[in-house]
Symmetry: C2
Subunit: 373 residues, 2 copies
């Protein structure tokens, strides 16, 4: 006997935009472990929060997965565009923010959606708005960091891009390759195989192998899990290896709560069986959530700050230096021109002396000057 | 206890291209009912065979569904292109033909594949090669039919286009709308929702509703089932209504034979249950097969010949008539020009008479002629 309980009636949905949602004791995401991660890295507490970018064509269950990951309802006012709107639509970015509190730990969660991506007949350069968004956040941070008052900078840099790969294709699609290559040096890409409940276990295994091969073949730099410290315990090392071997994570999401055999869980009810979102035998959902929230959130932020942002900053400084050099050159040429003009003016005055005197002048114009001798 | 038996070991796979595959008694497609259909329509037997066009982006299980529908292995030498090949690929058409014999009834089955459709970053006009293929078959038939020896015409006209819609999107994609609108006046389009095992029953219901709405909204003319004769029995009428209400058919295919609880069937084994391809509670697969093979194959061919081909033929004749009229006009203008030249030549000769005689000439040039009076 299986009962479906719409999550619209659960306390989750009473949370509005930018208000704090306090999770029930039975709802456990793992945010409570965040201070340990921060402590683990450098002993000083930081602002708890993370900014995710969710990229993938429509219908891959991106919103549902985000809701399932963070036990929230980030898209309550969402309107799915109709067919005509989908035809006219261009790619844009929409920001959703919510604060979640778990066991006294408050986390500010931001998800950037990219509606319209991959849905048009012609998707050429449809990743440009996404690339621009990431760059704009870096630019803002660079301005703030270079300004006078930099003690309270609002950090909006994107820490992680969840890239949703269709479960249908034979590996990566040309659009996936092009988009990931456009973003891979700007953001930590975590690829996931969406709606994995349409794949049997053998198909999931084959698809993961193929995607990993193609990621390597095309030189796409996805997020690399850090190497384990040698003094970590064996259990931690084993879990870490499982995590690395599971990329790209095959995930299933659900907005529906199912009651079956006395248990309540997020799931999907098919005529041939019930899929449990948080069952490790059914998908990599728990692995992904643990990675994003419990074990690697701080590393995602560190890589963003230390690698992607530093690359952007170095590029900026290089460009600025080049501009300054160019400006200097321009000024030098301009001043050279003015000097030449002056001398030419003097020369034309001297030309007005009578023909006999003029014949005795010899003009030598060395390079960079034009001086009558 | 579930056992997977690869169909590679079954007798199906020993059938080569264009050889006759004789189905086992437990393998029943329904071709044996074809002579009844033919009889039902006009009392005389026709050539048994049908030409299907299979359109949809890669990974929608088109080949698997075709194999499941006709209990065959039409794609045994198929090579799935790798990622680089997929990037470089353009849309083309590939023809597969096989003869199948069931209970003494032989059917020649042709499936036209359209690899590469919908897979590129830019899919603008990617339906053109498909449109061209259909037109070429009409053109060939038109030439043959207009020739001297028309008793043994090879009829390659496409009778049915199985259009595969992704189960992931929120209804039709812009590419689906554009492609179906390009083809709908040339071929019978039968839309199917592919890989429906990724949708719960409620989702299937909603998706079908939405697709039907959008098909109407965009004025797409899909294949319309003929109205039932009033003298048909109630059971037939009921089945016919179920068929009409099920469009677009939500289908599941499989190349794998499963053995479970003493039964063998084509299916898909998930950790949460086993999907049976030929189970009506799991998908519309049986409805689609019955429609294509047992009840509507002859109607699909009749509509192709009587509507789509006749439209093409009328258009051809219209174009030819227009061309003939234009050629006539050209000839008339040309002959008019030659006549004028002659008269001008005569006139210039006459101009050589002396000035007094010349003064008495009055030239009247009525419309269409230039005759000196």
């Amino acid at each position: 006997c299986v009962t479906l309980l719409a999550l619209q009636q659960s306390p989750i949905d009473q949370v509005a935009w930018d208000q704090t949602q306090i999770l029930n004791p039975w709802q456990y995401v793992g945010f409570a472990t965040l201070p340990n991660q921060v402590h683990r890295k450098n002993g000083e507490e930081r602002c708890l929060g993370c900014i995710f970018l969710s990229v993938g064509e429509s219908g891959l269950g991106k919103s549902t997965l985000i809701n399932s990951l963070f036990l929230t309802d980030l898209y309550k006012d969402r309107k799915v565009p109709n067919a005509q709107e989908r035809i006219d639509q261009t790619v844009n970015t929409i920001k959703h923010t919510i604060s979640i509190e778990e066991k006294g730990i408050k986390v500010r969660l931001t998800v950037i959606d990219t509606p319209g991506f991959g849905d048009a007949v012609n998707n050429t350069e449809s990743w440009n708005p996404i690339e621009d968004y990431i760059d704009q956040q870096f630019e803002q941070y660079f301005r703030d960091e270079s300004g006078l008052n930099r003690s309270n900078i609002q950090d909006n840099r994107v820490h992680c891009c969840l890239y949703f790969i269709s479960p249908l294709g034979h590996g990566l699609r040309p659009l996936d390759v092009a988009c990931m290559k456009a973003l891979h040096n700007k953001v930590n890409i975590v690829p996931v195989v969406a709606k994995a409940d349409s794949l049997t276990q053998a198909e999931v295994h084959r698809k993961k192998m193929k995607i990993r091969e193609e990621i390597e073949q095309f030189g796409i730099n996805i997020y690399q899990f850090p190497e384990c410290d040698s003094d970590e315990d064996e259990d931690f090392k084993k879990q870490d290896q499982i995590l690395k071997d599971s990329t790209p994570f095959a995930v299933i999401g659900s907005n529906v709560q199912v009651e079956s055999k006395g248990r309540k869980f997020r799931g999907r009810v098919y005529p041939w069986g019930v899929v449990e979102v948080e069952n490790s035998a059914h998908s990599d959902f728990l692995l992904l959530r643990n990675m994003l929230v419990r074990t690697h959130m701080q590393d995602l932020k560190d890589v963003t700050g230390e690698t992607h942002y530093e690359n952007y900053r170095a590029q900026c400084i290089q460009n600025m230096t080049r501009m300054v050099v160019q400006q200097k050159k321009c000024r030098w040429v301009e001043s050279g021109c003015r000097e030449s003009e002056k001398l030419l003016h003097m020369f034309s005055k001297k030309r007005n002396v009578d023909a006999e005197t003029r014949a005795s002048y010899i003009f030598i114009l060395p390079s960079g000057s034009s001086k009558p001798v």
